[in-house]
């Protein structure tokens, strides 16, 4: 099957999923569960943006949570010190994360596999430690409060859902263009891609910057939703969640991270009532999926639906 058709199929499935989600408030207006869905959408954006790097470009970064935190602080700091309105704050958060991602992406260009993972992990920890220790600017672990934008959870839900839709459409357009071809080529073999004339530096850096900007966008939006920004947003465990969601949903597919994020987060809230073993279960699932079902839930669905192929 050609990559083109596969991508289109994933996009259609994702659109259907988003549509179903959009109809949910008709049936359910529980404030708590709407909040859960909002956070799920936040993670879905993070996981999708991380998937662009890890799944499509082969750059296994361990910094998505750090970029979300950068975006959140971009919004919160500009609101706290310059009183900017939320839309400008969002823009500042997104752009600052994107620019830092651009620089980091350019710097780590040549690193691969464990080396890249270690570098981005260190970067994430440095940013978090700086945020938590620069107490006179960020108030450290106390966090920076923000004026809430609005309070209606239904509106927040639709804001986050639109943001997710926007990110998914953007990713789809990007991957459908020649960029998708080039990014996958870089993932598979960088030297062969260079031989074929692919501009490695440009595409790798662009992917890093776009992914970081999307994470920063999610973070900034989340900052207004939570009305408080703390360094905890950038914890490695948050990155762990993002990775888990992507792997469980299906890495390297457009829909996988979205399915993974909603499924993991909603079920984990639901499991909270049964003693809080949710994180244990998900960590175990990540290992099981990585070990046995590489293509994630989406991969399982595809295999189940596919007509039995003749042995070629």
């Amino acid at each position: 099957m050609s990559g083109d058709i596969r991508l289109r199929r994933e996009f259609i499935a994702t659109s259907l999923l988003l549509l179903v989600l959009a109809l949910l408030p008709l049936a359910m207006r529980d404030v708590y569960w709407l909040g859960v869905l909002v956070v799920s959408a936040y993670f879905a954006i993070l996981a999708s943006s991380w998937n662009l790097l890890a799944g499509f470009t082969g750059q296994f970064s361990l910094a998505p949570a750090a970029f979300a935190m950068i975006g959140a602080y971009g919004a919160a700091l500009s609101a706290a010190y310059y009183n900017v309105p939320p839309l400008i704050g969002l823009l500042i958060g997104t752009v600052s994360a994107g620019l830092i991602g651009l620089v980091l992406g350019r710097i780590v260009m040549r690193l691969r596999g464990p080396y890249l993972a270690l570098t981005t992990l260190s970067f994430a920890e440095i940013v978090r430690l700086v945020a938590s220790n620069s107490i006179n600017i960020t108030r450290g672990d106390l966090g920076l409060p923000l004026e809430p934008w609005f309070n209606d959870r239904v509106i927040w839900f639709y804001v986050f859902l639109s943001a997710l839709t926007f990110v998914i459409c953007g990713l789809y357009l990007l991957l459908r263009s020649q960029a998708g071809l080039f990014l996958e080529a870089i993932r598979d073999d960088e030297i062969a891609a260079a031989r074929s004339g692919v501009r490695i530096v440009f595409w790798k850096t662009a992917a890093f910057a776009i992914s970081s900007a999307a994470a920063g966008f999610a973070g900034a939006l989340y900052a207004y939703f939570a009305s408080l920004v703390t360094p905890e947003l950038g914890l490695v465990q948050q990155t762990g969640l993002v990775v888990s969601m992507t792997v469980i949903g299906g890495m390297g597919s457009l829909i996988g991270p979205v399915v993974g994020a909603f499924l993991v987060y909603v079920t984990s809230e639901w499991l909270r009532d049964v003693g809080g073993w949710q994180l244990v279960i998900f960590a175990a699932l990540v290992i099981v999926f990585a070990r046995l079902f590489r293509a994630g839930l989406w991969g399982l669905v595809i295999t189940a639906l596919a007509p039995r192929r003749k042995l070629a």
């Binding site: 073999d189 062969a192 260079a194 004339g197 490695i200």
Partner: protein, 240 residues
């Protein structure tokens, strides 16, 4: 300037080992040159420098008269220098067709044009039946043919082929050499590295023989193969 590629005094050292030592030669447009020499004589290293995968310590390289020493491989590819690696390099998780499309699109073909071209190449190289298979699932020989095809998605100025015939079945070898001969007849220039002397004799009017990083002999293939220094290098071992 009649020279397509001009290599001037290129030298590369790895620690104490001189892998390429002051190599100088020119390739004219449309020329098909065989590059031979014992194992470890520096052929791949020289190609690596020419294609920008390695930077030389000394010397200059010009393509179409313009200096291109130290340019990145992707820049050189866009200027028409295509290269096939000795250890096959393809995109294992993309299907065969997409593998070709990468080269086509990156070198500036439009989407439709690239598809037509790719399908043509698949037919010509007789791997059309596996076009939707992931490239990682191909046999070793099929992978070589695919990588070979990638070099011709856009007609290159010069194709550098590093042992395309190694570990290849005679029928596939025949497909490739027929392809090379046909393109050469249309004016395509090649550098062909091979240990397969009959093929070199058959395909290449001119050959360069290297030993221990140096050019031993450069000229008509028949002359090169009978030069005493070359016979010495091959039969007497690379002890020099």
């Amino acid at each position: 300037m009649t020279s397509l590629l001009s290599v001037q005094g290129v030298t590369k050292r790895f620690g104490g080992l001189v892998a390429v030592a002051d190599v100088t030669f020119d390739i004219a447009p449309g020329e098909l040159v065989g590059l031979i020499g014992p194992n470890g004589s520096g052929k791949t290293t020289l190609l690596n420098i020419m294609s920008g995968n390695l930077s030389g310590d000394e010397g200059t390289i010009r393509l179409d008269g313009e200096p291109c020493t130290g340019l990145k491989p992707q820049r050189l590819a866009r200027r028409g220098l295509m290269r096939m690696f000795q250890l096959t390099r393809i995109f294992p998780r993309m299907n065969v067709l997409d593998n070709l499309l990468v080269s086509g699109r990156a070198l500036g073909l439009a989407a439709d044009e690239a598809k037509v071209r790719a399908n043509g190449l698949l037919e010509e190289l007789q791997i059309a039946h596996v076009r939707h298979l992931d490239a990682g699932q191909l046999s070793g020989g099929q992978m070589k043919l695919l990588e070979f095809g990638c070099c011709f998605m856009r007609t290159p100025r010069l194709a550098l082929l590093d042992e395309p015939f190694a570990a290849i079945h005679p029928t596939m070898k025949e497909i490739m050499s027929r392809f090379i001969r046909a393109r050469h007849a249309e004016g395509q220039a090649f550098v062909l590295v091979s240990h397969d002397m009959p093929v070199i004799v058959e395909l290449c009017p001119r050959s360069i023989c290297m030993n221990a990083g140096r050019v031993l002999s450069d000229g008509k293939t028949s002359d090169v193969l009978t030069a005493p220094a070359v016979i010495d290098a091959y039969l007497g071992g690379a002890a020099a």
